[in-house]
Symmetry: C2
Subunit: 347 residues, 2 copies
């Protein structure tokens, strides 16, 4: 890792891609990467929002392919390391080989928090190719600290040099972060990371809580770009960590300049992250943003507040791919409401 | 106070006035107050951003006078209590009498963190008139926890029913909040409050830290409106507190509706709170926003990064009214830089 207390991974060119519908051009990526390198950022991550191979009908086509993005970014990096993201089932070994050939230094392998076992081969591939391998446990709020630890240990066994607690839905409170990151820090012999989203306004607060609990590598995006209401705002995070007395590699004013002089002119009002009611209720319920549109439609159908349905889905712990359950849940809620109204009318 | 664990004070119509240059109309105030009352908000605060009497050349003229605002808001409130803000030196006893006549339930009296002694008479006036009196210690980050306690004890002696730690510049880290609120909670026999700004992205995180440390009354604004990068975002705060298991009076979805259906249409891109580089560096340096414009001008004059000057001013603990020091400080910094450059050239 680095000599500093905390390693910072800037994902503006990866998780930030979600906010711009994966439409950054290779030239834009080069400009952002260059500014981050100049500011001494530890790592930049470059991929489609859903990782290499994500550019598709399912996940949305990116403005360019992995090769074009890496060709644009690599010449801009001097000391800053280059990470790529790989989701088993989306990214393939061909893309990994391409990233190696182009000069990636590390690969982060992400699975659902209870499915680390699907990543064993991927870690093997990454290590065989000499890259630093990190494991990311997505939607970690859906599992108990003990389950997160068990899954993290699998990734440690597979060869991960760091495992991340990912608050993918922005659903954690500082206490949730402390419990999970704290347990992993005690029990693992590798580095522990934390990745925040801002749906509950806790992007910075949770990242600080994670670091206090032992995380030594954390994620952020310039201007807080990212899926939902965005990630931890990187330039703010650097300032907060400096103010809190942590030794970090990036230069505070340099990262601020990258955010406002370089990235900001590439954004529009629509692509700026915003903590609005939609992202808030997703974080509160702890469900993925893909549920929002379906739930609105179903809410109208059953004359229910879609927020009530989302909260119910969150309590049931539904995950992506289970969108067909929304109608069932709404139908049951509407029945319950009708029954309650009947029994009240009887009184 | 209330039966709930934490009392919530919505300041959209007071601190939020800063964000709209004090231009909310009485009709707009009535609409926001009505939505907040319907959502069971504990308290709404209505005043010029700088308190009653703030409408002036110095602080900016409001769209209407205190009487018109109170006449518009009072009929909308059923269970929600009405607070007004009074800054000694700005607000007068005439305005206080007007607020009493119009039906205010409480008055919050705000002084600089080391100047509580100027508020003794004001507390007396408020109590004589039968209102709940609260004391606010502004810019509490500039004083040690022990000094904040000493000043809070003065306000307690004067008759305050609650004293607030105000992070007026958004400069505190969670640890700073815990130290100050924690000490006051231990040592005072009255309620302790906390008021956040979001300059370091910690509006929600710090408020939660304050409540964990013993605060039982906290402030926020719908959509995070407010001076600088805004206050704690009220609808987010309600959701976070519910999720964390606190019993609060306001209805989460109702406050969300007030934020997005009622307030949001009144805002423009320019009046929406934003965590940009300007507000970030003010929070990092811990200085008031009035320094920003002067510092930019002086920075150009001496060929210095204005951010460096702001950080230096923050370390010196300068406060409003000391803007003339900016040129002196910049001149000294420019001399130091020149001397360093000379000595390096000599080597």
């Amino acid at each position: 890792m680095t000599d500093s207390d905390v390693r910072l991974i800037d994902m503006t060119l990866r998780d930030g891609m979600h906010a711009v519908d994966h439409q950054f051009t290779p030239e834009q990526m080069a400009d952002v990467a260059s500014a981050l390198d100049e500011a001494n950022m530890d790592v930049v991550e470059v991929s489609h929002g859903d990782g290499m191979g994500g550019s598709s009908i399912n996940y949305g086509f990116a403005a360019a392919d992995t090769e074009a993005y890496l060709d644009a970014v690599v010449p801009e990096l001097t000391d800053t390391r280059l990470s790529v993201l790989l989701l088993p089932g989306i990214g393939t070994v061909e893309e990994l080989d391409l990233a190696v050939e182009k000069g990636a230094d590390m690969c982060r392998i992400a699975t659902h928090v209870t499915e680390a076992d699907v990543s064993a081969e991927h870690f093997e591939f990454v290590e065989e190719r000499g890259l630093e391998a990190n494991g990311l446990l997505m939607l970690s709020h859906m599992a108990s600290p003990e389950t997160v630890l068990e899954q993290a240990k699998l990734m440690e066994d597979y060869g991960a040099e760091a495992v991340y607690v990912m608050d993918s839905a922005g659903a954690m409170l500082p206490q949730d972060v402390r419990e999970r990151v704290g347990l992993l820090s005690e029990e693992l012999s590798i580095d522990v990371g934390f990745h925040a989203h801002n749906n509950l306004g806790l992007g910075i607060g949770n990242t600080l809580a994670g670091i206090e609990a032992g995380a030594t590598t954390v994620d952020g995006c310039l201007r807080g770009l990212g899926a939902g209401s965005g990630n931890a705002q990187m330039e703010v995070l650097v300032g907060v960590l400096e103010k809190a007395g942590y030794d970090v590699s990036p230069d505070f004013f340099g990262v601020m300049d990258a955010a406002e002089d370089v990235l900001l002119p590439m954004l529009t009002e629509d692509t700026m992250p915003e903590l609005d009611n939609d992202s808030l209720v997703l974080g509160y319920a702890g469900v993925y943003s893909s549920f929002l549109r379906h739930t609105r439609r179903v809410g109208e159908q059953f004359d229910l507040d879609p927020r009530e349905i989302l909260v119910e889905l969150g309590e049931m712990g539904v995950v992506g791919g289970q969108e067909d359950m929304i109608t069932d849940v709404a139908a049951r809620m509407a029945e319950d409401e009708a029954a309650t109204a009947d029994s009240e009318a009887d009184d």
